[in-house]
Amino acid sequence: MAVTSASDEFSLAVTTNMSLLSVVEQAIKSCKAEQARIKDSIQLYREILHTVTPQPNTDCEESDSADDAAAADTDVSPGEKEDIELLEQALEKALWVRTGTGPSKKGSNKQCAPRKETKEGMQAFAASKGNQTTTRSTSKSASLARKEHKRPAGIVHHQPARKSQQAVSASGCVDPGQLHTSAFHSKNKTNRGNVLSGNDLGRAAAISMPSSNNTAPVSHTAESGAPCLPQQNGTASDQTAQWRSLRRKQNRLWDKVAASQRKPVPGRSHFMERIRATFPKDWPCGSPDQTRALVDRLTHQGYDLIQHCQTQELVAKQTPETATEPGGKTLERWQMTAAELQNFAGQVKQEWEAWDRWRPEGGCLCPTRANSVWANGMVAPLPPTITYTTEAELRELEKLRMRVALLQQKMHLEQLSSIVPGPGCPDVSVLRDVYSLLGEGGQRFPAIVLDSEPD
């Protein structure tokens, strides 16, 4: 379909039609529109997550710090202490790298800081990996937190190493002066992994508050223990709980609705039969929507078939020695299928015309993509539910969906272009470009060589 067969003239035509460009531009525009939509959803999800999941409190000025600070110390288990030491060292190194100062000065500075201080430092480092502004960091940290959250607890020991790598590659500028007073909110008890401080490090707080100094309210460094923030806002937690319960209720209801779809409704079918009996005798079956979906499907299948045959003929021409029996049989089968398609298409066309005769103004029989009609002509009643168990499954599903959509888009564009033979000698570079565009998808280029030696 892309290359119409050459007649006696065999050069490329130069026709003036800019529409292909505008189609591609349209496609680009729709991609950008989709990007904007996705960005909006991302924003929305981040906000929801930020609100719904416990965060280290950045804006909280209250310091229940002192008591918690004392308590925090005792909560740290020996294993964690080790991790923290390791991390501390790694972070010191990072500081050297970053600030270019010698080890001794920083090290001593660090070492005299209290334990919690280094934890804050670690937070800061981890946070600085992302960005520096307050507002954005919380959302980023939400996503970071999500990342950490999903990791099984077992690998928390690896985290110090990872964190140090991150710290070294951190793009933010880290200053010991910036080790600040982020409140360190603990994760909730029901967190799946064993809550350890290593995990909590993922929950970075906002960084850009310059710290008063190292003894500043260290608050809320309790891990796996008491939820330390006071409930300043009782309604807030209610809201989250309310949201959760509403969403769960919606899930349950949805399952019930889906189950109700499976039950047959005899009264309804009976009514439809009676109404159908009042239709005129030559009224076609089904509905225009079904017919147009069928037309669409057959059109695509037909073009596919044509392409198959064309390609096979071309290949057979090129390599005549392989055009033996097996090739012949396949060709015959294609032809039988083509004949069948033709017959069936004739019937469908009759049906189409029947609908058309009765069509009132404004009715439309053209296949549109807006239909949610399935391949077998049935109308999808409700959005189905796809269940998944691991995040990877969902990611793969969505990735595939996007890939298929993009592939369809690309193929649609490739099918639109055609080369028409015309008079005159083609420009060599044009030939080359067209070959690459239509033959290699624009990814590779052939070489065209002038062969001017007399044979």
Binding site: S41, K249, K256, E340, Y388, L394, V404, L431, G441
Partner: protein, 417 residues
């Protein structure tokens, strides 16, 4: 049916009330009161008719059955009539007044009353319009549904390459590829966050986040409305049968009226062209013409008059185009996937439903309401493989043809990469 008439009518009124609540919950504005329905059964007059015109119009517009742009120029009553007529035809409904007169009266000689409108409404409900309304509303209100990816351009006619614009075309195509890659990575991010949200829903924490936000408040409002909608739908489903029994009685009333002679053929033979210009049919016919012919000789796709007449006879018996002939159905066809779906995170082990793991579905199963993601993934992989195969075939054909073309030119030799 030993119950008294009064009891029955009370029940019917309740059921219709459930229907009205459901219709209102889907966001429709013009829902009449249950009493109006009863009045419509017995021919309620202009006021009742008006209400039903409004209702039908708004249903057809919300579900997208009728493309709105075709009717924007019309105003007033005639707009309603035309829009509703087009929409009803689109779903396969016939009535005298739908395909009949275009004047203000409607119906050629028959008695048009609100009962006709009531029957039309019944038809719409029976053909799944409620579910469409529900889907539409859910898509509006629910933020965590997975939605279709509309990146395909609409034009479908063949276009030609212009040599001067080739450079720009190459650049544009490169740019398109880049946009596609951006989309993929953004999609990845969104999916991650979506999973986090779904996971957060299932959590049973008692912690107290300190922040409230307007976003969550709005979310709660929307989700509450959604729950109301789903509950209304469930209520409706439970009492649906009573409604259909009642509609049966409406049909009875309608049939016992003096019936006008039904036209056995279309009122006028003029085939109007829809606002797309019959593009779909042209493409279809073009495809038929280009089908490879067998050895039996040329057989034109456009049948001759006699052929058509003969087939017309057969059609009256109801030619069955609902199932494809055998060879055709074995042709690989791109599985059409649902446009919108809902993702559900399952934490417990899913129950096996007697689905043989070795069986790979090649098309979307008949009416699934729930599908494991592995199956959906299989479908998508299959679709991708089909598309890639098609694309490679096309490219091969192009290459061969171009090589032929160049081969015929003197002095030029094409060396493929």
């Amino acid at each position: 049916m030993r119950r008294s008439k009064a009891a029955v009518s009370v029940e019917v009124r309740q059921v219709i009330g459930a229907l009205c609540r459901l219709l209102a919950a889907t966001g429709l504005h013009a829902v009449p009161a249950p009493e109006t329905f009863r009045r419509a059964k017995f021919g309620g007059g202009l006021e009742v008719e008006d209400q039903f015109w409004q209702l039908l119009t708004s249903i057809l517009q919300s579900t997208g059955i009728v493309p709105c742009e075709a009717f924007n120029q019309l105003e007033g009553v005639s707009k309603h009539r035309k829009l509703v007529a087009a929409g009803l035809w689109q779903t396969g409904y016939h009535a005298d007044w739908v395909s009949g007169g275009e004047g203000g009266e409607g119906g050629q000689g028959g008695r048009f009353s609100s009962r006709d409108l009531l029957l039309a409404l019944g038809w719409l409900l029976a053909t799944g319009t409620l579910e469409k309304l529900l889907t539409h509303r859910v898509q509006q209100m629910d933020n965590i549904l997975l939605t279709p990816i509309p990146v395909n351009p609409q034009l479908s006619s063949e276009l030609q390459l212009h040599s001067a614009s080739l450079r720009k075309l190459q650049w544009l195509i490169g740019s398109l590829k880049y946009q596609g890659q951006i989309l993929l990575s953004m999609q990845e991010e969104r999916t991650r966050l979506l999973h986090a949200v779904l996971f957060a829903i299932l959590q049973t924490s008692v912690s107290s986040p300190d922040q409230s936000s307007t976003v969550l408040r709005e979310e709660c409002v929307c989700v509450q409305q959604l729950c109301d909608l789903l509950e209304a739908y469930l209520n409706w489903k439970q009492v649906e049968n009573v409604f259909w029994t009642w509609m049966d009685s409406v049909v009875d009333c309608h049939l016992t009226d003096p019936v006008v002679e039904k036209p056995t053929h279309a009122p006028n033979g003029i085939t109007r062209v829809c606002h797309h210009g019959n593009r779909g049919l042209e493409k279809f016919e073009d495809m038929i013409l280009r089908l490879p012919r067998g050895q039996k000789g040329q057989r034109r796709g456009r049948g001759d008059a006699e052929d058509r007449g003969e087939r017309g006879e057969r059609l009256q018996g109801g030619s069955d185009t609902s199932s494809l002939p055998p060879l055709l159905s074995s042709l690989p066809s791109l599985p059409t996937l649902p446009q919108v779906y809902r993702a559900k995170l399952q934490t417990e082990k899913p129950i096996k439903r007697g689905f043989r793991p070795a069986e790979v579905p090649h098309s979307w199963p008949e009416t699934p309401d729930e599908l494991p993601s592995s199956q959906a993934t299989q479908l998508l992989l299959h679709a991708e493989a089909l598309l890639l195969e098609r694309r490679d075939r096309q490219r091969l054909a192009n290459r061969i043809q171009l090589q032929e073309m160049v081969g015929k030119l003197d002095e030029l030799v094409l060396i493929p990469p």
